[in-house]
Assembly symmetry: D2
Homo-oligomer: 384 residues x 4
Amino acid sequence: MAGSLAERTLARPSFEAAFAAPAFVRAMLEFESALAAAQSAEGLIPADAAMAIAAACKDICIDVEALVTEGKRSASLAVPFVRMLKEQVGKPHAAHTHFGATSQDVLDTAMGLCLKPCLDETDRALEAAVRALARKAREHRATPMLGRTLMQPALPITAGLKIARWAVALAGDRERLAEAAEAGLAVQLGGAVGALEGMGESGPAVRHRMAMALGLADARAWHAHRNAWLDLLDRMALVVATAGKIARDVALLSQAEVGEMLEALPKEGVGASSAMPHKRNPVGCAHALAAATRMPGLLAIVHAGAASEHERALGGWQAELATVPQIADALGSSVDFLEIASASLVVDAARMKKNIEACGEGGAKGDLAAATDELLADLAPYLT
Amino acid sequence: MAGSLAERTLARPSFEAAFAAPAFVRAMLEFESALAAAQSAEGLIPADAAMAIAAACKDICIDVEALVTEGKRSASLAVPFVRMLKEQVGKPHAAHTHFGATSQDVLDTAMGLCLKPCLDETDRALEAAVRALARKAREHRATPMLGRTLMQPALPITAGLKIARWAVALAGDRERLAEAAEAGLAVQLGGAVGALEGMGESGPAVRHRMAMALGLADARAWHAHRNAWLDLLDRMALVVATAGKIARDVALLSQAEVGEMLEALPKEGVGASSAMPHKRNPVGCAHALAAATRMPGLLAIVHAGAASEHERALGGWQAELATVPQIADALGSSVDFLEIASASLVVDAARMKKNIEACGEGGAKGDLAAATDELLADLAPYLT
Amino acid sequence: MAGSLAERTLARPSFEAAFAAPAFVRAMLEFESALAAAQSAEGLIPADAAMAIAAACKDICIDVEALVTEGKRSASLAVPFVRMLKEQVGKPHAAHTHFGATSQDVLDTAMGLCLKPCLDETDRALEAAVRALARKAREHRATPMLGRTLMQPALPITAGLKIARWAVALAGDRERLAEAAEAGLAVQLGGAVGALEGMGESGPAVRHRMAMALGLADARAWHAHRNAWLDLLDRMALVVATAGKIARDVALLSQAEVGEMLEALPKEGVGASSAMPHKRNPVGCAHALAAATRMPGLLAIVHAGAASEHERALGGWQAELATVPQIADALGSSVDFLEIASASLVVDAARMKKNIEACGEGGAKGDLAAATDELLADLAPYLT
Amino acid sequence: MAGSLAERTLARPSFEAAFAAPAFVRAMLEFESALAAAQSAEGLIPADAAMAIAAACKDICIDVEALVTEGKRSASLAVPFVRMLKEQVGKPHAAHTHFGATSQDVLDTAMGLCLKPCLDETDRALEAAVRALARKAREHRATPMLGRTLMQPALPITAGLKIARWAVALAGDRERLAEAAEAGLAVQLGGAVGALEGMGESGPAVRHRMAMALGLADARAWHAHRNAWLDLLDRMALVVATAGKIARDVALLSQAEVGEMLEALPKEGVGASSAMPHKRNPVGCAHALAAATRMPGLLAIVHAGAASEHERALGGWQAELATVPQIADALGSSVDFLEIASASLVVDAARMKKNIEACGEGGAKGDLAAATDELLADLAPYLT
């Protein structure tokens, strides 16, 4: 599995699996298989070759350690991978394998194929989280709680208003993410210098067929201009930021002295401490806040990698490849938190009331339930 | 003016001016004036008050040093600013000034007002750069040049293909930026805890009127959930990344030993060296690459600030406010470079030919002009 | 002054001034004056020239706007600066001005000269803060308070232990900073390619004289290998990190529901809110936390700039120059906080007791005052 | 093994292994075993218990997947780890296992134990690299090559000067790293709130014994004030920065059109391309530049994590734990590059001469070999 033990302790298992060696190898094989099928359909390689390649992709058993060791020697996994695949395909079709493609084609496409199920899962999790939070917000539309600014008591709001804001923010993130995924999850196919120079006039048609087959967007080679992809990573970061903000709020409200919310009721075996058995830690918040601490730096890496050299970068792209799985991991931690918190959030209205009174704040100014209702109206699609 | 001398040496004057003290103060005054007008139209304050406030906003002469000194004591510029404005308004309308609003309302809105002209200018500059590069790409659609990967010669491409890719990338950035600006440049109006709690039922109408008057989007209070704004900053970063990538290419091609492109013909007084009078430095590239070096870290800051506390952050938001002008500055440096490079780019076809030959590369594989033409077709709207 | 209004609201005035245009210009002039004096002493230029240059450095009135505008055209402030200075020196000694030096020499040295007083001030402020906190820790060596882990109550500690840890951390930062300043604040003198190639055998002697005169370390040219300088910036970041950690603790303890510490007693005009006149915000914490939010990104910038090209970087170095004053600003915000918090920290022992009891925690396990005393022993030099 | 396939392609196997699950589990077991031994020596637990625990630590076979799954539920690997170990120890000594310690004690100490061999290896590799580069510099002390600034030809230097600068920079990094490792690789032992509250007066003695046994520094609990550790990570980043700078230079010099240096002579199977069999890529440079691209963001993460809450952070610390192995990986990539480049660096003096002449630069100004000799004198300890 991907990641050190400490990293894995923060990871969402399905996201981990999506980028683990078996899944990544499978994605590279899907690329080669789809390439051959498309090239055969376009008459660039014989139908026999495509079938032989598809069979080899099904049968091959890649030695991951050898892949890594050799990959290191060429600074590219794809070099030994293609060699191994050609050996499996054997004569006479080895020469038709990976035809006209380059390392970056298979690696970038595989990265997208691995990320895709994570984004699908994130979309479903966000929808469920927004639904659950919207309902919880409706339930507490008129529950007064302290608004707090600069970590000091300000004026009262309602618990529903706070929760509805979380939900609206997540709904916005979900839309932005879906939009970016449409353009950003694209097949990469350019050949050595990104010009599809080896496939003659059929190049774009091959690429289009591959995109259809792999469920990715069709896009001109994006080897060196990766902004649709970066935009997608940025928007994954926005989900992490919102989850981090919600976790910050919940963690502050879970303090013993505040006691207004808990991410979940205490449960046997969750949030235990090795030193203090009586203690229950806000584990979901820890995950979301760790992700929110990691993401800005990870984002800085992939943006730094973008000032790349010529037709394929030396260093920047390789750094990006190593970082994308970690960005997915941080998103996975955030999704974990959102699932827990939206499903199990505990709101203590009595404690909220007590804290308002203790601060000497009178009742809410204005009709705060009205402000909540406005947001609930925005959330109507999630409240059916 | 904003920024240290070293920072200012990298800055685009119009962008610098957009966030300089006079402009920022003016933007804060626009906010207050628009607020009063909207509240008067909605019957929340007397028409007389709105007129008095508008007049005060026109007449007031803010002591910037006092503003900073006092602002530091409240960790907010808005506190002394509102005090000064109320003094200028005087009795009896001082009480109607800044009515129902909070510090973050005026500061966030002012930040958006200052950013707006920078984005408008960026949009125009990007359009012009794409046009100029598209034309240059068409001119060199069949000019062979080396494609280079991992900083080594790969197969030939055409100069037109390389330049067209730059143009297409910038056109994509331009669209993404425009889209994000539509949502991200929004009025901020929420009052103490973001619930418009002081304006009763008229709150949303006041906000809507302000948005219209200020030329910003109308949006529910986004004090603590700033992702539409962050998305805008991220997309500014994408422009900087593309400019950095282009500059990296141009700088590499401008090396004496390569000599295939120059950002501009040598000009008296541009790119001079203090030690070597005969030398001409790629100054535009230096600006764009400095911006691309700065942006990932600046982006990390505003993302880190997003895991904010409750209804107004302690630290994270303040860090963001200090960073946005620097993000704009980095964008400005990139725009400067794009203007220079697109207007003056020198392409040396003969040197390109010589370098291909020296590497022992034969002619281009396939019809490279065809690949260029594909991209030129995408650029058709810019080639009229 | 340096920085946007929002940035200036966070800045320490003396640090701002240290990098403001007048100070930076003065530092550049000091460099040129010291260079001429040293070269005259070594017989490289006539004594008359050195006197003329020193006089010009005293008399010259640099037009900062012209400096910036022209500086932009060469991507270097030093080019117009040297031109202006040579004009002031006039014939026949203009040719002896900036002799054998390059842009980076004057800019790097000026940066160090501007940083130096900030570091001196930081050292004094850290010493005072450690002293004050050590005394406060001694006072509360046996005051029980809740220890808290993962934002939940853990076992009791003493208030003195917590405060002593802050003090010990700051004392460690202070030592590390002093050590790094010794090597990192070095004169830069290398000439065009860093080899002192224009000064013959006297180069190293000139550099040594300059170092003595300017109060900087003597070091071989560090144009392209800047790690002693980066190490210094990293250690400034460590101070900011500790201040941020202390501010995080104080802000959490200042929450109305916790109420165990305040950074200072409420004071007229400090921490005021524009929306809620009754409110008092933890202003010092806001400054320190904003600095701690900014610093990781700023550090990422200067580290990213370090993978520089050949004998002088294109982009990375320029980004560093623009970032160092911001790093100093972030340090300044932290120093402000440390001064406030160490001088005025309010400890509410009664509330601490009440919070322990409310959590159902019994008395402290073990002799917690003993743990505090251990740290107080480490702090002995500060407790005289 | 730790890391995604793409990350592993960049990793140094020994560094990967140092943080892989078996090594990390072993390090945690070493901690527990050393803790028990020290506590037995101090009379806190029976000698029998220490022996039983030592035996259990030897015999236990930890189910890593269970560890991760359960660890996730408590946001801490240590909780299931301690549970598993106690089961292995069994009655009656289970209660003496992990006595007085907390999760962070075992995790922080294990992290240091895993890092230690990486730093030892780095030290040896740096020494060897400096030696080899110093010799190469001496060999080329008078070989003229172009100095280049802002990526343009400046004045000539010698190849020896350039290489000697690299060597001096690495030697400085090595010293700084060794110094930081001495303080930063420290045992962590504090118990629940860092006060060694469960071990009475013997706490410090236990900690001291553990430090001796584990080969780590003895230090007061550093749960929440981690600057000695951060300083160590920062200095690892300085090595990565220098390696990145050297790789940048080598990659630029390896361009076909420049051809002055190669990281190594072309070798069968190294640097191959999947699309262009004739091509040889600068693989070592790719590794070092990828590391230099990653490090600034990774550093930003661990600095961001430092503004932690109270006696143990919620989020920041966990993010740091996940990031340290990646920081080590980036260092490992850099060490790989330094080994390759220092052992195999190819210098083409004829091409250097040709490039100087092509630029119309005359001979070197001044005696450049003298400048090189100065640096060689600094490198004397490495030239024996």
